[in-house]
Symmetry: C2
Subunit: 194 residues, 2 copies
DNA sequence: TTAAAATCTTACCATACATCAATGCAAATC
DNA sequence: GATTTGCATTGATGTATGGTAAGATTTTAA
């Protein structure tokens, strides 16, 4: 595969830990690149998620289906939150309750999760990185809980705007509505106010 | 310190990874035991959390103060969720937005977080355990988000009852109310229905 | 280019839960 | 034992958000 794509991933990891050349080499051997079109389902509901993916380009959405309605768990794109997976399914090896979908076409780097975890055994650095990644995901999830438990829908919308300003004009608003936990109609009213 | 207390911790860790004797030895050297009375504040708001603690006995509560009201993040006790800390503060080394308080008297094992993470460097097993712990916390946090985002207050109460049946008669109900994200009045009405 | 589908907005009404206030009860304190 | 304090409950009322439906607009597809 092309080095230029994997460098994005290496640079991202290198923000947290110092990757050795052999770490990069081991990773590189296991990576593949996957192009995705809009509306392609990457992980369907009920399937165990077996790969960890990394955004090279495009925007991706993770959502659940509850009473026939899609409820967005989060978005993945290059500059923020670039790891794409149904993490709960990946970590617990249970069928995914979440659907992972491409919403803006692009490319993902992909690695089998078994290959990824096998790197933990040969590289303490990558093992540490795995821990850091999990810790960071936990911190972000706690912030999300805080916002859902204490904040009004309007507050959550303004927070979203600060965190993901780039997304507003790139994706349908009802995706955002379900992310902040309101109906599209309510989001429309919130937007009207401000 | 007494071995009998630390065995509780070792056994708990051993459910996830195989601890060597030297792992236990290294841990043991760093552990202290702390007794706590009811209403003792273990971590006050605004202080950076520097220790990781483990429940030997008693019940502990982590909460935030929002608009003068206490909002419970979670409970810690022996059989479930035994690690006590303001994790976000611990992991990010920022002042804690959360207060950690003893609500039923008991004892905690305590280790300086810097000591804990220094064990990661000398023991791959403990490094792996740190990762697993973070991953598990993440999965639990995602379940919490799911419940706050999709479920009614009544649903959240019945879920709570399944998850923490032992707590109902041990702690004030308004703690539970703020955990499931409703007022004590609403919880009372929910309980009346069922 | 036109038709079809998806998206966004607005209006009206319904509902879950919050807020405020009063009361009873139980536990802690004197 | 009396008194205070905290907790649980109940009722009346308020408010934010949901549900439904219709129309306007944009995007997609034929």
């Amino acid at each position: 595969m092309e080095d230029s794509n994997s460098d994005l991933l290496f640079d991202f990891i290198a923000k947290t830990v110092d990757l050795s050349l052999s770490d990069k080499q081991s990773l590189l051997e296991k990576l593949t690149i996957e192009p995705y079109d809009k509306h392609t389902i990457i992980i369907p509901q009920g399937q165990v998620c077996k790969n960890l993916r990394f955004v090279v380009s495009g925007i991706y959405r993770v959502y659940r289906i509850e009473n026939g309605k899609e409820i967005t768990s989060y978005f993945n794109y290059e500059s923020r939150n670039p790891f794409v997976a149904s993490f709960v399914s990946l970590l617990t090896e249970t069928p995914s309750q979440e659907v992972v979908e491409c919403i803006v076409p692009g490319k993902l780097l992909s690695i089998k999760y078994t290959d990824w975890t096998s790197l933990y055994d040969i590289s303490p650095t990558l093992n540490t990185y795995g821990r850091r990644m999990a810790e960071l995901n936990y911190v972000l999830a706690m912030e999300r809980i805080e916002s859902l438990q204490y904040k009004s829908a309007t507050d959550r919308y303004t927070s979203f705007m600060k965190l993901y300003p780039a997304l507003l004009n790139l994706i349908p608003h009802h995706y955002i509505a379900s992310y902040i936990g309101v109906t599209p109609e309510s989001l429309s009213r919130i937007r009207k106010q401000s």
